[in-house]
Structures are given as C-alpha cells and as structure tokens.
Symmetry: C2
Subunit: 185 residues, 2 copies
DNA sequence: TCTGAGTGCGTACGAACGTACACACTTCTC
DNA sequence: GAGAAGTGTGTACGTTCGTACGCACTCAGA
C-alpha cells in the first residue's frame, strides 16, 4: 500500500539547485553550464541532479521558469501599486533605470533566456507567458498601443545601457515614457 | 627566401566557414555549436578549422565580428540615404518592421551575441563598436537624447515582436518614433 | 525487532568534444 | 628533375560531458 511514504530529507533542495543553476548560467552562460558546475555551486552531490531532474535540459527549463515567475511578480507589484498614469510612468522609469530589475545579473540571464528560447520550445512558452503577464500589468494604466511601445522601451533600454559606460539618464527615460503614453493614449 | 610563396587554393574558405558558423549558431545556439557541425555546414574537413583558426572561441569571435560589420553597413546605408528627419523616421520604421533587419535568423543571432558577449570580452568589444556606429548613424538626423530613445526602440521592439503571433503594426511604430523624435528634439 | 519500500548518492561508462600532429600534396626555385 | 617550403587534411588522443545504476541509508508498519 501507499501508506509507507517517506518524506524528503531536504525539501528545499530542488529550489536550491535551480537557484544555483541560474547563478551558473549568469556566470558562464548556457554554453558553459554543466551538471558538475551546478552541483558544485549548489553544494550537492552530482547524483542528486539526475535524481531530482530528467536531464540537463529539464534543469535549465525549470530554472528559467523560476526566474520568469519571480520577475513577473516584481513587475506586477511595481505597476499595480501605482494609483494613476503619472505614477505608472514613474514606475516604468524605475523598472528601466532601477537597481532591481536592470542588474547585470538579471540582464545576463534575460539574454541567455531569449537566446535559449530560440532552440527550446518549453522555454519559448515560458517566455511568451512572461511577456503576456507583463503586458497585462501595463494594460491597467495604458492603452493597448501605448503598452506595445512602452514594452519595447522596457526591453531595449536596459539592454543597450548594459554596454555603456555611464549610467542611464533618468529624466530622459521618464520624459520618453510620458511622451509615448500621452501621444498613444 | 620568401619568394616561393604558394597561394591559397580556396581564398574564400575562411569566410565560408564564418558564414557556416553563423548558420549553426542561429540554428543550434552557441551551446550547440561544435567544430564538427560547422565543418559539416561549410562542407570542409574538420582539420580545416584548426588550420585557419585558433580554436572554437576564435571562430565564434570572428563570426560575430563579421555579422556586426555587415549589419552596421546596412544600418548606415539605410539612414544616410534619408534626406530629412521624416525620411529618417521612415527608415527607422523600416528597420524595426522590415524584412531585412528583423528576420528570425538575425534576431536569434543577435540574442546569441548579446548573451555570449557577457562571457567573452572580445565579443563584448565588437558589440560596443556596433552600438557606437549605429548611434553615430542615428546622430545625423536626431538629437543625442532622441538617439538614445530611438536606439532602445530599435533594440526592444523587434525582440519582443519575435515572440508574438501577429506581425508588427507599422503605423504604430512610425507614430511612436516620430513622437519621440519631435519631443526630444 | 524485522522487513521492505522509498530516498539519496558515489562511481563508472559510452559518447562527443577540442585539439594536435604526422603526412600527402602543390608549386616555386635552381 | 630534385629539393624546399608552405598548404591543407585525416586521424587519433586525452579530456570532459551526460547519464545510468548498484548500493547504502532511513523509517513506517507489523
């Protein structure tokens, strides 16, 4: 019977492995991500990875899914807190310029995810979900057309800026976002 | 003496290998790019790669450099052809919506390059050069502040759109670009 | 206390990889 | 025609990878 069910010794191990995976990807890229590096980063034995996951692809897919979920939540929280459109513009400006979203680690992971999604349909679906949710968060404050333009700005600006020497001009970002929001309704 | 200089049988071989490398990267990602796949795609023997290049990293670096140069030239040509700012806005709209720049293959390669540049300083420098050149092309028609915003749009919009089902709304893009250009000088 | 089912891990193996290198081939000089 | 020098390639080697799997361990039920 199923009664003799043992419980896992370390229930958080799966999540620790996924977090370690994201660290390895951010540091070495997907092309440098291996079972052994992940195990070393997470401090777990090599066999633990094949026990909890169905291969390296499965680990990477779940790691990206985990990242997408946590980013989606932060995104949603930042935008739903805004009472009106000017506040929403400020929130978007924070997302673009801020220290939370546009960290080097996050941007590196985002690039890796976009690149990997081109070759893995599961990650591609995860990515589409996250784009859909972020647009839904924007739609509370902006017209559908404005959403598309602002989404492009949120996407492109930090990515470009990551390769510049100087920090982003916050006033310029806010002015651009506001202009787009007003012009497109 | 150096007089007995033999000439290469196939002087275009290096370029064919680099083009094949880009094809392999677009199809399998950097993480799935190997000497053997490149050789197969280019139709050259395996030993030919180690003869012409100093390892796989060298091949990838030169392939990305080749891509950046050709894209930079197209970018420059599209923008210098525009006589005034409205024409430049149209050119930018074409870059974002067009069939030339925003192809699935090009976008996939761009993502791979951005991701790889985080872990390879040579490719990072190549990327910075290409960003500098594209901004210089924009600067012929727009203020420096407008350049930054438009650059972000060119970057972010096709990348987002690649994951949508429906094609881009050309009028929306043109209106956004024009609005940003006017508002920021 | 004994048993058995489920948990978790150390190790080993086949495959694929990057790279080196011995060797054929071609063309120029004498 | 003989030798030299540079071009290009087939193959083989050492390494590292992903993954499988036998085995130790733990505890619920009898």
């Amino acid at each position: 019977m199923g009664g003799a069910r043992r419980v896992a010794n370390d229930p958080l191990r799966k999540q620790r492995i996924l977090d370690a995976t994201l660290t390895v990807i951010a540091e070495h890229g997907v092309h440098g991500t291996t079972h052994r590096r992940i195990a070393g980063e997470a401090g777990v034995p090599l066999g633990s990875l094949t026990y909890h996951f169905d291969g390296l692809g499965d680990i990477i897919e779940q790691a990206f899914a985990r990242m997408a979920r946590s980013m989606s939540e932060r995104y949603h929280a930042a935008l739903t807190a805004a009472p009106d459109q000017p506040a929403a513009c400020a929130a978007v400006t924070d997302l673009i310029c801020g220290e939370e979203y546009a960290t080097p680690r996050t941007l590196a992971l985002l690039h890796e995810m976009y690149a990997y999604a081109n070759h893995n349909s599961t990650v591609a679906e995860t990515l589409r979900q996250w784009l859909r949710r972020s647009r839904a968060s924007l739609a509370r404050h902006f017209s559908e057309r404005a959403c598309r333009a602002i989404d492009a700005l949120i996407e492109g600006w930090p990515m470009h800026q990551a390769w510049e020497r100087e920090p982003l001009d916050r006033d310029l970002v806010r002015e651009t976002v506001t202009a787009v929001a007003q012009r497109l309704g």
